[in-house]
């Protein structure tokens, strides 16, 4: 009997192993057809814009990837909060996909000749969810509130610049004064973070306004259970939707429950198991797998602004030399990275701007091709010679790139570093990857990086200013640490140029320069993706890629 025991034991071990494997192995048929660029999430964009009459009522459950920080638009610093904030607050204007600006809470506006004051006529039929009437006073209060240090405003402060003050002309006319002209200002006013808050509620709740938000938007805040969910309900009075929305009146849905589900597998699993009706930020591998799912539809929109871009630190030799950077540009196979990691669900970026952003230069597409021979030749020319370990050396120093990235591994950005590390090894460049929690100190303050990647959702190409313009003497350093008078001049012109064609041309010149000089390596355009049950209809996305629920409904 004792002789049989080892057998029984190993059988038991095998049994457990088999159970574990069976748990994960039973959907082998859903194996992704690796890297098929034709299968893009973005093609499903319009699928849900249904033509049939929408069903009234119903509760939409929508899974968010992280917890919002605050529902006070002026205090929030997280994109995830904007998904909720956008349902509660309206803005003065709305931006269309072609980058034109249209009325929302403002009916019309004029810009002074010097570009430093904007006069808005406001809608007269709007009231906030607490009954407070919307008027010029509310607009002034909201914008002044952002500048008031006591508000502890965050990203909104940067967005509203160069706003200085407001003058109430009459109850429904307001003049906004800027310290300097800015072509980006109107677009920024369309963003949810510059939404108009109810002055009554904001005064009443003070610090706690972010937990008791009141705006004039299509949905009213109901309840926030920390780390669990946020509930909003239909605003029955809503009747002032902008032209980007089909349903101008009160939303079809009774309400939306935003569930906070950080773990990817759980979030996507919850849609598949029907526990929620929609979930945001679908990982590429799941997009591929869900394509064949009869119960699930994929929605999404590419974000605009700056794509995910790797910035060289122009102050650190040897990468302050354009030739050295060009060698890296030729040695990194961005196509392969994007295809491998995102399985064809993300578009590769070619320019410092994302497609769809005003002034985007599509002529840059397919411009840079990997060429290891040329990369090696450039490095040889610079005097970097391969050593015994295959890494190039000059004057006893190894050719290394200190590549910094933040944590957690958002959108697989750490994985990009891992691949680039291998790709650059082939031309004799050693890449040290540093993953840090403290990006602000390492990158922004100390500048201790050769490459750092970042992206920014933005409605205007002036976003480039903060990344490439020589900073003021005591100002904040840019990520590129670029200092080129010609580029500075172009960026300054772009900010004020009134003629759209000329303005677009200015930004094209900037884009070309940045790519030609290999100041950056653009990597991918981030698509905001949503997996939703097929019964969910009418979710659309605004220009910045945020979901809009006014016309959403649930088919019975």
């Amino acid at each position: 009997m004792s002789r049989r025991k080892p057998f029984i034991q190993s059988a038991a071990v095998l049994l457990v192993l088999a159970l574990v494997l069976a748990a994960c192995g039973s959907n082998k048929d859903k194996e992704p057809s690796a890297a098929d660029p034709a299968q893009s999430a973005n093609t499903t964009n319009t699928e849900s814009a249904s033509t049939s009459t929408a069903v009234q009522g119903g509760e939409l459950t929508y899974a968010l990837a992280t917890s919002p920080d605050s529902l006070d638009p002026h205090r929030s610093g997280l994109a995830v909060a904007v998904r909720v904030i956008r349902t509660i607050y309206d803005s003065l204007v709305v931006q269309l996909p072609d980058n034109t600006i249209k009325p929302w809470l403002a009916t019309s506006w004029t810009v002074s000749d010097d570009g430093k004051s904007y006069t808005f006529k406001l809608r007269q039929d709007v009231k906030f969810q607490d009954g407070t009437p919307f008027n010029a006073e509310a607009v002034k209060y909201s914008y002044d509130r952002i500048l008031d240090p006591a508000t502890k405003a965050a990203n909104a402060v940067a967005l509203i610049a160069p706003y200085e003050s407001s003058e109430i002309i009459d109850d429904y006319t307001i003049k906004l004064n800027l310290s300097t002209p800015s072509r980006a200002f109107l677009g920024n006013l369309s963003q949810a973070l510059l939404g108009i808050v109810s002055p009554t509620a904001a005064k009443k709740y003070g610090d706690q306004f972010g937990l008791n938000p009141v705006g004039s938007g299509p949905f009213k805040f109901v309840k926030w259970n920390q780390n669990a969910d946020i509930e909003v309900e239909r605003n029955p009075d809503y009747n002032w939707a902008p032209e980007t929305v089909d349903n101008k009146g009160t939303p079809y849905l009774d309400g939306i429950t935003f569930k906070i589900i950080p773990e990817e597998a759980t979030r996507i699993g919850s849609v598949q198991s029907g526990q929620v009706l929609a979930a945001e930020t679908v990982p590429p591998q799941n997009i591929v797998a869900l394509k064949d799912d009869k119960k699930i539809q994929l929605l999404g929109a590419n974000t605009v602004g700056l794509p995910y871009t790797l910035f060289f630190n122009e102050e650190r030799p040897p990468w302050n030399d354009a030739k050295a950077r060009q060698a890296v540009q030729l040695a990194v196979d961005v196509d392969s990275i994007v295809k491998t990691l995102y399985l064809g669900t993300y578009e590769r970026a070619w320019s410092p701007l994302s497609p769809g952003t005003f002034g985007y230069d599509s002529s840059l597409e397919n411009g840079v091709k990997p060429d290891l021979e040329k990369a090696n030749a450039l490095l040889d020319e610079l005097g970097w010679v391969k050593g015994a370990d295959g890494i190039r050396e000059k004057d006893g120093k190894k050719l290394t790139i200190h590549y910094v990235d933040g944590t957690p591994n958002r959108e697989k950005r750490n994985d990009i570093a891992v691949i680039i590390q291998q790709q650059l090894k082939a031309v004799g460049i050693s890449v040290e990857v540093e993953i840090t929690k403290d990006v602000r100190t390492v990158v922004n303050t100390n500048g201790a990086y050769d490459i750092y990647g970042n992206s920014q959702v933005n409605s205007d190409p002036n976003a480039l200013y903060a990344f490439y313009h020589t900073p003021a003497p005591n100002g904040k350093k840019t990520l590129s640490r670029l200092s080129d008078p010609a580029i500075d001049k172009l960026l300054e012109q772009g900010l004020v140029e009134k003629d759209d064609a000329k303005r677009a041309d200015i930004y094209k010149q900037i884009q070309h320069y940045l790519i030609d000089q290999a100041v950056i390596l653009p990597i991918y355009v981030f698509p905001y993706t949503v997996a939703a049950d097929r019964s969910v209809q009418g979710i659309v996305f605004d220009t910045l890629g945020y979901p809009i629920f006014n016309s959403a409904s649930i088919k019975k």
């Binding site: 025991k5 029984i8 034991q9 038991a12 071990v13 049994l15 457990v16 574990v20 748990a23 994960c24 039973s26 959907n27 917890s67 920080d69 605050s70 006070d72 205090r75 610093g77 240090p149 006591a150 502890k152 965050a154 990203n155 402060v157 940067a158 610090d207 706690q208 972010g210 937990l211 259970n225 920390q226 780390n227 669990a228 569930k259 906070i260 589900i261 950080p262 773990e263 597998a265 759980t266 979030r267 699993g269 919850s270 598949q272 198991s273 526990q275 840090t436 929690k437 403290d438 990006v439 602000r440 100190t441 990158v443 922004n444 970042n454 920014q456 903060a466 005591n474 100002g475 904040k476």
Partner: protein, 308 residues
């Protein structure tokens, strides 16, 4: 007795204050700044950050922040989250029931599974049941909980649809996380129950009892099991602490509300009032439980009165 209690109380207060100071010190050296989370570093200007830091009071030296925090705390004011001004006490009280429910359910799973497998394993020593029970127990101890949690979600929620994958409303959402967390405890209990039962079975007094003509069953359950329960129950007390720690990971995997998630997030964001609040709370619970345990020993066995 009053003297013992007073000394106990005094050292408990010391421990709580000490843990607050320790956490304060760790936060002090923790890199980064609360404003990193509040405002996007890529668009924040130095003036913006400076202003925000001033408004939040984090521009002051850390010891002043701590002193201010501490004096408020003594008056029962645990402050507000730096992130959104939410009351820390409210945050903790809102989340604690969910964590308590999870800990209780996991302990239940641990004890039930652990006892059943442990007893079966001891009774059927060295037979297939024993081996399976022990292997299951060992797997419980040896698997990273976030992995077993995700495996449970995929298997029991996605494939079979038996239980919801996430949430913290209703008993059904409790099942999967309780299993994931409970299996760890079960592993320890299986081992403990099995070995103490076997020890007792092997001891001579059982042989003696049997020689007195008691039935097999009576010997097994009345004596062996009862004696084996004592170390197992001691173990449970200890495991509750482990499980509270386990909630940090499990609450994230299953998207449950709870203390574990709050503190992990707050720690990373350097949200001092929230971190201190939760640490105070957990230190308080820890001290209470341990004082009770120690005092009960004192009552049971006067000999230990001096040693602690």
């Amino acid at each position: 007795m009053a003297g013992v209690l007073a000394r106990r109380l005094f050292s408990s207060v010391l421990v709580i204050v000490g843990s607050l100071i320790l956490v304060f010190a760790i936060l002090y050296v923790l890199p980064g700044d609360p404003t990193d989370t509040i405002v996007d570093p890529s668009i924040a200007t130095p003036e913006m950050v400076a202003n925000l830091r001033h408004q939040l009071g984090v521009d002051q030296p850390f010891y002043i922040q701590f002193a201010r925090y501490f004096s408020h705390m003594l008056r029962g004011d645990f402050g507000q989250s730096l992130m959104n001004s939410e009351s820390v006490l409210g945050k903790i009280l809102d989340s604690f029931p969910a964590t308590l429910a999870l800990t209780a359910a996991s302990s239940f799973v641990a004890v039930t599974v652990g006892l059943v497998l442990g007893v079966l394993s001891a009774i059927h020593r060295n037979r297939p049941i024993d081996l399976i029970a022990r292997v299951v127990g060992l797997f419980g101890i040896s698997m990273p909980t976030f992995w077993s949690g995700i495996l449970l979600i995929v298997l029991l929620s996605l494939k079979l649809g038996w239980f919801p994958a996430m949430g913290s409303d209703g008993w059904r959402t409790l099942v999967l996380p309780a299993i994931a967390l409970g299996l760890v405890g079960a592993g320890f209990i299986v081992r403990m129950v099995r070995s103490s039962m076997l020890d007792i079975i092997d001891e001579h007094f059982i042989l003696t009892l049997r020689s007195k003509g008691l039935t097999e069953r009576a010997v097994m359950y009345k004596h062996a099991l009862r004696n084996a329960l004592i170390p197992a129950i001691t173990m449970i007390g200890m495991l509750v602490g482990e499980m509270l720690a386990g909630t940090v990971v499990i609450e994230t995997v299953f998207s449950r509300q709870g203390i574990g998630r709050i503190i992990a997030d707050a720690l990373m964001a350097k949200d001092l009032p929230v971190v201190q609040g939760v640490i105070f709370f957990s230190a308080f619970v820890y001290v209470i439980v341990n004082t009770l345990v120690d005092l009960s020993y004192t009552f049971i066995d006067p000999r230990v009165r001096r040693s602690t």
